[in-house]
Subunit: 693 residues, 2 copies
């Protein structure tokens, strides 16, 4: 624990010969690393854009890790029991692309030459789904680290549930490379504290401790004793490892593998290692080295080959396909024996990995829908959500829930769930503590590992703390279900710091994210159903703290609900409506009440519920025009920032929203203060008709 991140890295830019590893094998190993270096450096030159410094600095450690430790099969990047590798400092993407190419993934030299070009397989930062072997989209710092904690947790939970004596089918490690930036980010604290508490011994983090960030030497803004910090989290720390001494890296990795705690290997490296002018400086971080410096690096490394030319000896030495195929074949043999011994467990395991819901799902869903139909009680939608979990979760072992210290408030901890914080049976519930961002990113990691449908709860207003993770889940098409409760000013007394205003419409602006705000118990069940069946993207469930009256009729057509927006009450004479009142969540009941008054005043009103605008937007034009008929004045009612609703207003309409911060007071008083009363809705509607008419 004497290492500090601000300690000066080794000052030489050329390899330090280590007597233990001198010799031909050593030289060969170094050449393997140099192949990574030149690929990264040359691809950045061709692209005239990119980050050469980190790949040059990390090539030695990466070649030991990938060459001697990582268990993977380039021919099948989806092999379930592969070791996971996450490059949390995603700007070092060319390091990863070089590794993928050299070890035999479907990533050609032509792909490397297309680095950072539109629609290439080698985008500027690693993107999951774009490049075979890339596990995580990284770039926003520390997110890869936090997702890796989720992956390591996934491995542990699956191992606990499925491994049996003599049948170990889940057994892999999760390796992460992080930079100074990742460890400065607060997210690293949240995620690594949890990893320590959970004792994730198969998580191994390699810290590229090069002492340089974009603004220069980090000593001016990062003087943490990182080794001590991680020891305080209960981690195993390997301090002061010379990141350019292959044997030292090897020994450190061996120690990490052997230790039952999560491990941090503090690699002292030189950014842009090998570059005579730019090594050890920030200028190498984010810009090409330039022709002269690249030539000089070649000389210093003793690399005579032209760009993108690799000697066969090197490519053969790097090729991980034979070993990978053998490893996967051995695992498949174990799986077959397991399936013979434990057919039900094996079937469940494979079902979960295939993202198929269990057989029982349909039955329990029908039962939940039936109960919701029968239940006329006013009910907070967070409570309806909790009842849904109580009914469904026991049949869906892949559901792994959690909350950022608001389990009871969020209704996320269902009856019979087993907390990771309690000893005993394999867990299916996570007490994340007050760590919204880590919760969301760990959920992404659980989903990306496979075998889990994670859900994660906090107050809607604190979705802001986790917002970038919600974005990343959406960008990576991951099925994560965010349960955001206490969804409006109606939370009341806790006041403006706890009352969401802009959060709901802001979440709706994130691409590829379905945001559900159900109005009553039945809509809540449908929202859960849609989220559980939506495997292509994350969903948000936006739920009320306060009771909401039942608004859907007992014989409600559920197909309509599943369209994200529907006519809850048509104009009752059958004639065309003069006015549409459209609302979401707790405001739907208000719309119904106002509609009743307006009808008594002779206004032909259509009431629309819009629990999910994203799903509604995916319906046909004719359906949408039926629900929100063009030319008919419309009043949208939602206790949130108003601007985005105007998209649906068309030529004539109005929005009753809130465009200032909230107020502390009893919920009903706060709602009245902001105009969420029947009288005010009726007045606004009449004013709209007067204008529009």
């Amino acid at each position: 624990m004497t290492g500090t991140s601000s300690a000066a890295p080794p000052t030489s830019v050329v390899p330090q010969t280590n007597t233990e590893t001198t010799g031909a094998a050593h030289q060969d190993s170094r050449l393997l690393a140099h192949a990574l270096r030149v690929l990264a450096m040359d691809a950045v030159e061709v692209a005239r854009s990119g980050h050469p410094g980190a790949p040059l600095g990390l090539a030695d450690a990466a070649s030991v890790l990938w060459g001697e430790f990582l268990r993977h099969n380039p021919a099948d990047p989806a092999w379930p029991n592969r070791d996971r590798f996450v490059l949390s400092n995603g700007h070092a993407s060319m390091l990863l692309y070089g590794l993928l190419h050299l070890t035999g993934y479907e990533l050609s030299l032509a792909d490397l030459k297309a680095f950072r070009q539109l629609h290439s397989h080698t985008p500027g930062h690693p993107e999951y789904g774009r490049t075979p072997g890339v596990e995580m989209s990284t770039g926003p710092l520390a997110q890869g680290l936090a997702a890796a904690v989720g992956m390591a947790l996934a491995e542990r939970l699956l191992a606990e549930r499925y491994n049996r004596d003599g049948h170990v089918i889940v057994d892999h490690r999760t390796y992460v490379i992080v930079g100074d930036g990742c460890l400065m980010e607060g997210l690293s604290h949240e995620a690594c504290s949890l990893a320590g508490t959970w004792g994730l011994g198969k998580l191994i983090v390699l810290y590229d401790d090069n002492g340089i960030s974009i603004d220069g030497p980090v000593s001016g803004w990062m003087s943490d004793d990182t080794a001590m910090r991680f020891a305080a989290y209960g981690w195993h720390v390997v301090p002061d490892v010379d990141g350019h001494d292959l044997q030292a890296v090897r020994v450190a990795l061996q120690q990490a593998v052997a230790d039952p705690r999560p491990s941090l290997i503090d690699l002292k490296t030189i950014i842009a290692y090998g570059a005579p002018l730019k090594a050890g400086t920030a200028v190498s971080h984010g810009a090409p080295l330039g022709v002269d410096e690249v030539r000089a690096v070649r000389d210093i490394l003793g690399w005579p080959h032209e760009p993108f030319v690799l000697p066969e000896k090197i490519t053969q030495a790097w090729d991980a396909r034979p070993a990978g195929a053998a490893a996967q074949a051995a695992w498949q043999a174990r799986m077959m024996a397991y399936a013979a011994a434990h057919p039900e467990l094996a079937a469940e395991f494979e079902r979960r990995l295939a993202q198929r819901l269990p057989h029982e799902y349909e039955t329990v869903l029908e039962a939940a829908l039936g109960q919701a139909r029968q239940d006329a009680r006013p009910m907070a939608t967070r409570k309806a959500s909790r009842l849904m979990l109580d009914a469904m979760a026991p049949s869906i072992p892949e559901l792994i829930g959690g909350s950022a210290d608001l389990s009871e408030s969020n209704g996320t901890e269902w009856t019979g769930s087993r907390s990771i914080s309690a000893p005993g049976q394999p867990a299916n519930y996570i007490h994340y503590g007050v760590r919204e961002f880590a919760m969301a990113m760990i959920s992404v990691g659980l989903a990306r590992h496979g075998g889990f449908v994670p859900y994660a709860g906090t107050f809607l207003v604190f979705s802001d703390y986790a917002r970038s993770a919600v974005r990343t889940a959406a960008m990576m098409d991951q099925q994560v279900i965010f349960v955001f409760t206490h969804d409006s000013i109606a939370v009341g007394e806790d006041g403006p710091t706890h009352q969401p205003i802009e959060q709901l419409p802001s979440l709706r602006l994130i691409p590829n994210l379905d945001v559900w705000r159900p109005a009553d118990r039945l809509e809540t069940v449908i929202a859960w159903q849609m989220a559980l069946e939506q495997t292509l993207r994350p969903s948000c469930l936006i739920l009320s703290r306060q009771d909401c009256p039942r608004v859907t009729p007992q014989d409600m057509d559920l197909t309509a609900l599943r369209r994200g927006g529907y006519i809850l009450q048509g104009n009752q004479d059958g004639a065309a409506a003069q006015l549409v009142l459209a609302a979401t969540g707790s405001e739907v009941a208000l719309a119904l009440d106002a509609a009743a008054v307006l009808r008594r005043k002779g206004v032909a009103v259509q009431v629309v519920s819009l629990p999910c605008t994203q799903v509604f937007d995916r319906q046909s034009v004719s359906y949408r025009n039926m629900v929100l008929p063009p030319g008919v004045p419309k009043l949208f009612i939602e206790s949130a920032a108003s601007a985005p609703w105007y998209r649906y207003v068309g030529g004539c309409g109005d929005v009753l929203g809130i465009d200032s911060f909230g107020e502390s007071g009893p919920g009903a008083a706060v709602l009245a203060h902001f105009g969420f009363t029947m009288d005010h809705v009726v007045n606004r509607a009449q004013a709209l008709l007067a204008e529009g008419g």
Copy 2:
């Protein structure tokens, strides 16, 4: 450093008698604490809502801190040299309200009885501006702690600039109370790491280490060795202090005051101390204790008085007004001597505290405007911003900039600025490292302290990491200038993780925040001017990475620019326009180009630039209708999520935006991919006219 946060707190719920402090004085001191306890407990009962556990647990430590250490003047909560006190665990608000009432702030017993009622001075969580003596709006955990780091930094920077031999006019401490939740949040890592690096010796944090969070005993989700963690940050830690032993707290505070490092006092406390059934349990956290338990606490504490009845002996002992008035008077005498000895410094100090810009401001602004008018070069608006800082910042000593490790990219580190990371002269620039959230909250703290106009830079896409802090700045009406660069898909190669889509419109949804996205150098100067003069709220400057052509004419009427939206090019025949092309930032040039083509095709086009919709919305209806005439088809062009623009579309119009994630590739290729080309704009405009016509 043996303390761990998961160590069991003392188990008794009644006071442990400490032999050193036994006696009448001790009993009196305890009664002072008990007064705080009963006020908190009773107010929560009356409100039937609130958090009694933390006030009961913290009352002893708070009574020592406020009774013996805190230097403040209840008669003048704005006294510049007061000690700052921040309650970071804002849910313990009744502790703070009790302290404010008892020490003599303008907060009556009637106010306490109105706890959590609409428009009362005692909202559910502390709100700056609502209650005299409340320094920060807190509730979102760890934000108060990070803001306090900013306050302590402000004190140090002002002391370095203004104190002179024999004339110490800036000399106060910043005290913070934090809970487990604050320390679990990642923000605590970012802020406390910086506080350690900066050596903020006058920052003293009292950690309410009660071992309980909302979900229960924290040992299941927080096993950090907090003392070791803070030692790793370079803090002075006072471990294992019995938070109910007044003398132990006193000694710990004395040690903290004496130590030159920032201090963390680890107070082992019992949540809901004194409550026979609920002490030490999570049920006391967020709900009233109930009549029976409240009665039992009274018995145990030996407090015979009715709710809100305080013996005069107690109120007199608490009254801090005489000491406060004396302290402030002594300081004012020092200020007078200082003003006599250093009149210019004194005038500058007072000017800064009064939030008045310096005399030279007008002159340098005129010069900057003149230069911008003359400059026809295409220029990235981030570069224009940097030039503006180069021109203005030397004359505005209250400007304190910084960046989250992107100083050069953001253009925030102006020529001649002095980094806090360098030795020597008082700093006016902060290298925050990769810590966006802490940067934003420290900026709020700098602003709240007084004497500073902070600005803070990062990439727009990473505003998500800091989003809750931007909200808090807006909620607290604080002048903080956020410089968010790399503002669209045009960042190009870095790809979707670095390309903002929803961030710009999402920021616009935050109430009380002015969001400027200037189109060229002249608009950038105006945006800076408006942000510098806007003392009532924060502003965002959304700036391009890439060069933007000059769009404003050399003789541009600056009044129009300052209206947030204006006609950049009217229809050139003087007749009414058939079409409005409206755009912001880098898309304004595209609108101009398309307009030229459309005019050649005979379309009468009006081009509108809308650099700040919030300021535009504050203009008169007639002005807004002139710029965006109702009934005229409008095409809005902005490389961001489109939905919120429909608010301005009215009956007929269209938005060219982006509602999916970005792509990695050269900027021009990415722009073309998403339709941001002249041809596509012309086509969309023609399609719109065909529809609308």
